[in-house]
Amino acid sequence: MTRIATCFAQAAGRKLLVPYITAGDPDLDTTLALMHTLVRAGADVIELGVPFSDPMADGPVIQAACERALKHRVTLTQVIDTVKRFRESNQDTAIVLMGYLNPVERLGYARFATLAREAGVDGVLTVDMPPEEAADLVDELRKNDLDSIFLLSPTTPDARLKQVCELATGYIYYVSLKGVTGAANLDTAEVAGKVTHIQSFTDIPVAVGFGIRDARSAAAISQTADAVIVGSALVALIGEHAGNPETMHSTLHDLVNGMRLAMDRSAGAAA
């Protein structure tokens, strides 16, 4: 079983919490320390953003994080190396690399997949690569026991939904709204309906992201979703407290932990 599958298997009814941060923002040592903070706050899986010069699917918050990271030329291989360092003291928390295709193309699919596996990466999500174009990369990821995570969105028709579910492993990432990361128009009731609909097609866990920014929205989404993803709200805190590491860690911890507790409470209330 892959580490991601193990995380979901061991959850036993508890919903998974999946924080996203952009690697290298403000620098890779801080990223490594923040990953441990996220685990202490209740993260089950960490999505580690690989910075890209042209993050077309991201809103201003993650764009700014990419720019901060790229100011000191953070590369995909350095991000992979940070995962290796994380694994020196953590074997349980699953790590997903999330980013855009071009840095992976440049490194080469086979070399990327091998390096990622050796470092202890568990899954890969390339935002601008739909399943239609993904066969070669998915092949390489499979050979290295890495999960291929794909997005579904409110605009995905059922025919494609089936196709994506067949190719996806690890979990399905449901984009909860029509918009870029960090958008504010989340409709939790509509999302719940969609998640249930997706779950009727597949046994793969469904994680929901985009637009979840606090304990309340996390708890609401976790009523139906198998996992809750939070990104821009965390990245905004990292940007805001870039000059003050202590506050950065504590505010990040509190936000994630607040989500964790609210999700567990709402699971208890529902049971």
Partner: protein, 409 residues
């Protein structure tokens, strides 16, 4: 991935691209999931209307009566004489309504948007020519128009910004990344993701996810079709060479495509060499770049060793783009089109020559094609004919030209 040059047998226009928009290994649809559905809706609509007689008739009517086509294929006699070699012919896209080839494409896409029931139009622009052409068709058909433009380009192309506003468009400055065309494209894509239900994105060059490279090519192919007829009318045969500048590649592919299977016609695309290819400060991905993925398609890109897109440099805003349409990437690999670069300096010299000798102020983009013609014409015999696609007029560039000469207007 095999990117080696291979001789290509058979027709270059049949079955190209394939059903999913691939030109060889290039093209495709590399976009986030939310855009997959609107893009396939667009694919279906385009598949349907490109063969629809009523659509074609309306497009042709607009090109004739609104755009002012056909425009002339003009023999630049004095310049040809001075160069002492091949005859230079100018395809006068600068005489189109709004002053560039860009309007061919925006008319086509606007007609499609209308048939698809979309009322809100978005676009990206670099030089502002595509923005103006989009604002124009939106005014013509009463559609809302939002144009994304890099902050740096807004300064460089102030007259066009004002023209867009006069035409009723909203110009949104883009402050992310390098603040030029590529960032405007990112921002337009982000807008589209958030407004997929009512919005039609009119991309301004032959790049982006399928079907854009094909659709933009087809709408601009009127350039090559007219060159063909007019060349036969004036000289009794096809031209020996066609030269066009390549930013994203829409004017070039429009001029080249109807000639791809006429192997005796040499086709030459001219990229922006900026300060010189050897300096790294240029915008010539086909000349120096590697294949990668950006803005929805696989193509040649200007990137660093880690796969990050790098900043480009060109005196002409419309060529200041780190990618290029996927069909050009394929045509380069198979050797059908030759791609070269000319420097800012060479383009500026050609601009001044064109003004003084022919009485035509060319766009700085188009001047790149002129500059290459100036290089090759003298060595060719006087009975050879070179067509240069004069993709636009240079009125928009007068501030840039004045700046370079230290003049404040």
């Amino acid at each position: 991935m095999n990117t080696e040059t291979q001789p290509f047998q058979g027709s270059l226009t049949d079955n190209s691209p394939d059903r999913k928009g691939h030109f060889g290994i290039y093209g495709g649809s590399f976009i986030a999931e939310t855009l997959m559905d609107p893009v396939s809706e667009l694919q279906e609509a385009y598949e349907r209307y490109r063969l629809d007689n009523e659509f074609i008739a309306e497009f042709e009517w607009e090109l004739k009566n609104f755009v002012g086509r056909p425009n002339p294929l003009y023999h630049a006699r004095r310049w040809s004489q001075e160069l002492g070699g091949a005859q230079i012919w100018l395809k006068r896209e600068d005489l189109n309504h709004t002053g560039a080839h860009k309007i061919n494409n925006t008319v086509g896409q606007a007609l499609l948007a209308r048939r698809m029931g979309k009322k809100r139009i978005i676009a990206e622009t670099g030089a502002g020519q595509h923005g103006v052409a989009t604002a124009t068709v939106c005014a013509r058909w009463g559609m809302e128009c939002i144009v994304y433009m890099g902050e740096e380009d807004i300064v460089r192309q102030a007259p066009n910004v004002f023209r867009m506003k006069l035409l009723g468009a909203t110009v949104v400055p883009v402050t992310s990344g390098s603040r030029t065309l590529k960032d405007a494209l990112n921002e337009a894509m982000r807008d589209w993701v958030g407004n997929v239900d009512d919005t039609f994105y009119i991309i301004g060059t032959a790049a982006g996810p399928h079907p854009y490279p094909t659709m933009v090519r087809d709408f601009n192919s009127v350039i090559g079709k007219e060159i063909r007829e007019q060349s036969i009318e004036h000289t009794g045969r096809l031209p020996d060479a066609i030269i066009a500048c390549v930013g994203g590649g829409s004017n070039a592919i429009g001029a080249f495509h109807p000639f791809l299977d006429d192997r005796e016609v040499s086709l030459i695309g001219v990229e922006a060499g900026g300060d010189g290819l050897e300096t790294g400060r240029h915008a010539a991905p086909l000349s120096t770049g590697k294949p990668g993925v950006l803005h929805g398609n696989r193509t040649y890109l200007m990137e660093d060793d880690a796969g990050q897109i790098i900043e480009t440099h060109s005196v002409s805003a419309g060529l200041d783009y780190p990618g290029v349409g996927p069909e050009h990437a394929w045509l380069k690999d198979i050797g059908r089109v030759q791609y070269v670069a000319v420097t800012d300096r060479e383009a500026l010299d050609a601009t001044h020559k064109c003004c003084r000798i022919e009485g035509i102020i060319p766009a700085l983009e188009s001047a790149h094609a002129l500059a290459h013609a100036v290089k090759i014409a003298p060595a060719l015999s006087k009975d050879k004919n070179i067509v240069v696609n004069l993709s636009g007029r240079g009125d928009k560039d007068i501030n840039t030209l004045a700046d370079i000469e230290g003049i404040t207007l």
